[in-house]
């Protein structure tokens, strides 16, 4: 920091150990000048920070940028007050000068430090890290579902590249996701490889004002695969099972589920955007049991990243997976082919559906549960159709 460099060493000399002979060549005026210089430097730096932040804020989230700008304004005013405020009485001797200087310095530094710390917190806690307070980890390495904070922060630039640059994801209706408390995001599953889970997670993290961290459920077979399974654990995926989902929801988490499961992700290209059967209504039972609102989510654009042309079960046998997908990029482009085509994605968040109102008695009423599950399915299908109507081009949205 500039101020420590410019003020500290000489002041210390003056304060404690300096003999008058040594201190004599340091006139009082120069000290004041130094303070002024340090101040101007700080102001310049603040300006730079402000510029940077406004650039960042304008792009990503206007609400954030506003908050940051207001804070900065307040900071600048305070500093201006300090510098132009009541003029210190002219010191008579060297010691008095020093006292005034240290007082001024401490005031300035205290105010500055508070602000700078505030920014750091804002940056690290709100923007980079998601608010996973509830999954309090007993070990600091990973949380109880195997999510690695450090690893996630490390790959955040890469995932942001895919979010902002590669698939250029835009979101609609994120405000339907509650700021606090549990919610079940029910989405369509598509795209051969389960990228839509991480992207929904990123969408809630990047575009929602509360920066919530959604956990997404992943099919069983992913966890049989080397590398992919481990990766999914580390970035916040959870194996799809009633136990896991219930545990997460009871801790007031956002959970994204894909009731279509493997049928949805592995449907051929000619069946794109046609929702498959929604399991056996397990997610409705889950929502009723845990008293959770359901938020329908439609992901448009993910189907075309990996147009599934053929499923080869013969090639899959040695790997222990259900099938090897044949798409325009897999397996022709090797590892690069896994990311598919750069289509434009849009994620629509619908209005919350309250199924908990039916009460726990509804758990035994299979007809009602099937009906509710069909209702949610229709809502998502309509959202998909709407989204497809609005879309003009696959690659440019």
């Amino acid at each position: 920091m500039a101020k420590t460099k410019s003020f500290n060493p000489k002041l210390r000399l003056l304060n404690f150990n300096a003999s008058p002979a040594e201190a004599a060549p340091q006139p009082a005026k120069s000290l004041e000048e130094q303070i002024r210089e340090g101040e101007t430097k700080l102001l310049k730096k603040l300006d730079q920070i402000e510029n940077k932040l406004s650039k960042v804020g304008n792009k990503r989230n206007p609400a954030d940028a506003k908050a940051l700008q207001q804070e900065l304004k307040a900071l600048r005013e305070e500093i201006a007050k300090l510098s132009t405020g009541p003029e210190p009485a002219k010191p008579k001797n060297l010691m008095a000068t020093h006292h005034v200087a240290t007082d001024f310095r401490s005031q300035l530094s205290r105010a500055l430090f508070r602000r700078i710390l505030g920014y750091r917190k804002l940056k690290s806690e709100k923007i980079l890290q998601a608010n996973d307070i509830n999954l309090n980890p007993a070990t600091e390495e990973v949380d109880e579902f195997g999510r690695d904070y450090k690893f996630e922060a490390k790959i955040k630039p890469i995932s942001d590249f895919f979010y902002y640059k590669y698939w250029r994801i835009s979101t609609h209706g994120v405000e339907n996701v509650p700021h606090k408390g549990r919610a079940l995001l029910v989405a369509n599953h598509s795209g051969t490889l389960p990228f839509d889970g991480p992207m929904i997670r990123l969408a809630v993290n990047n575009d929602h004002p509360a920066r919530r961290a959604a956990r997404f459920l992943v099919e069983d077979f992913v966890y049989y695969l080397p590398f992919v399974g481990t990766f999914m654990y580390r970035v916040g995926g959870v194996r799809a099972s009633q136990d896991n989902a219930e545990r997460l929801l009871n801790k007031d988490h956002l959970v994204a589920v894909f009731p279509e499961g493997q049928k949805g992700i592995g449907k051929l290209f000619n069946k794109r955007y046609q929702l498959q059967r929604f399991g056996r209504g397990g997610f409705i039972k889950l929502a009723i049991r845990t008293n959770t609102p359901i938020i329908p989510v439609a992901v448009v654009g993910a189907e075309e990243t990996h147009p599934l042309l053929y499923k080869s079960s013969l090639l899959a046998k040695p790997f222990g997976i259900p099938y090897v997908p044949i798409t325009p990029t897999i397996p022709w482009f090797g590892l690069l082919g896994f990311f598919g085509l750069p289509t434009k994605w849009t994620i629509y968040f619908g209005k919350p559906i309250n199924v908990a109102q039916y009460g726990k008695k509804a758990l035994d009423n299979d007809l009602l549960i099937h009906k509710l599950s069909e209702q949610v399915r229709h809502t998502i299908q309509e959202m998909l159709v709407d989204g497809l109507k609005r879309r003009k081009s696959i690659f440019f949205g």
Binding site: D220, R239, R247
Partner: protein, 331 residues
């Protein structure tokens, strides 16, 4: 399920002579409210406790059940803790079957003949088995599927099932089955600690499962509370938190070699026969898939919460291992 104070044990017998039996005996020996503690050992114990009576018992010999019943009747044993299991999978599978599966059957027979009030079995969470489709936190209601691939675990499951059958037949007897996860601590000596003691630690390439440990003190605390209070049923005894295998190996400060899955089974099996690796190939899945249990039931019913987290339990083992290496602790 409430505990009753009038059923405080008077004579407690402990089978086995491993680290579990030794530690439990030490703890019970200290408690003056217990009249007599009996050790039914197979290997001659290194240290003899003052108040404990030592009796030799081989559960693999013929008519071991009759002999055990005689001892139990003669000493008027009311609580029997069964820990006589090999911790490490022995190379002689038929011996393991005799000792674990048939031995537990003998114990059940003897207990029913001598009308023992309480039976406690220390099993392991390995009986759930490592599977990719396990939920992240296995509860006691989850089926124990570990026997499908592993004959050593199958024997343990057999023992558990024998005890559960016994509980159904004798509803007045309190049968407690404790399932601790991988136990770590300064005195633990098992094939899992041997794995972390290898000079370089082999793992499976592309897999990094979550691990869970419980400290030995916590396990013995749980056993003690099962001795003094009545907790019929199965309880998972686990430490809080999980660690990925890679981080666990980082804590040991050693290198790991990720091995490719191709031909790994044959390779590991060969090294096991050559006495280089501590576990057979059927244990590879523990390095691939998750097998983590939740201790919610023990917390809600027994009020048992592990004092050591997973990481602390492992660090205590590592610390003792360092001291052992410079001969500050007896091996």
């Amino acid at each position: 399920m409430a505990s009753t104070s009038n059923s405080l044990p008077k004579v407690v017998a402990v089978t086995g002579s491993g680290f579990k039996a030794t530690n439990i005996l030490q703890r019970l020996d200290r408690n003056r409210s217990i009249h007599k503690v009996i050790s039914l050992y197979y290997k001659t114990p290194k240290l003899r406790l003052s108040r404990t009576k030592y009796i030799h018992l081989d559960l693999t010999e013929e008519l071991a059940d009759a002999k055990l019943a005689e001892i139990l009747k003669k000493e008027k044993v009311d609580t029997l803790i069964h820990t006589a299991f090999p911790i490490t999978p022995p190379r002689n599978l038929s011996f393991a079957h005799e000792l674990i599966s048939v031995g537990s059957m003998y114990v059940c027979n003897a207990a029913s003949a001598a009308k023992v009030k309480k039976l406690i079995l220390t099993s392991t969470t390995d009986v759930y088995g490592p599977f990719a489709d396990n939920p992240n936190y296995l509860t006691e209601k989850h089926p124990a599927r570990g026997f499908r691939k592993n004959s050593f675990i199958k024997d343990k499951s057999d023992a558990e099932n024998g005890f559960l059958r016994f509980a159904r037949k004798h509803p007045k007897t309190i049968v407690t089955i404790l399932r601790p996860c991988t136990t770590m601590g300064p005195t633990v000596d098992s094939f899992k600690t041997a794995y972390y003691n290898l000079p370089v630690i082999p793992t499976v390439m592309g897999y990094d499962p979550l691990m869970q440990f419980v400290h030995e003190d916590d396990l013995f605390r749980a056993v003690e509370s099962a001795v003094y209070e009545d907790w019929p049923g199965i309880y998972n005894i686990v430490g809080q938190g999980v660690l990925p295998l890679s981080k666990v190996i980082e804590l040991t400060g050693k290198y790991r070699i990720p091995l490719s899955m191709i031909g790994l089974k044959a390779f590991v099996q060969t090294l096991w026969y050559l006495d280089i690796l501590p576990a057979p190939a059927s244990y590879i899945d523990f390095l691939k898939y998750i097998c983590v249990a939740t201790g919610d039931k023990a917390e809600l019913e027994m009020g048992f919460v592990a004092k050591y987290t997973t990481k602390e339990a492992f660090l205590s083992f590592i610390g003792a291992e360092r001291l052992r290496r410079v001969h500050l602790v007896e091996a």
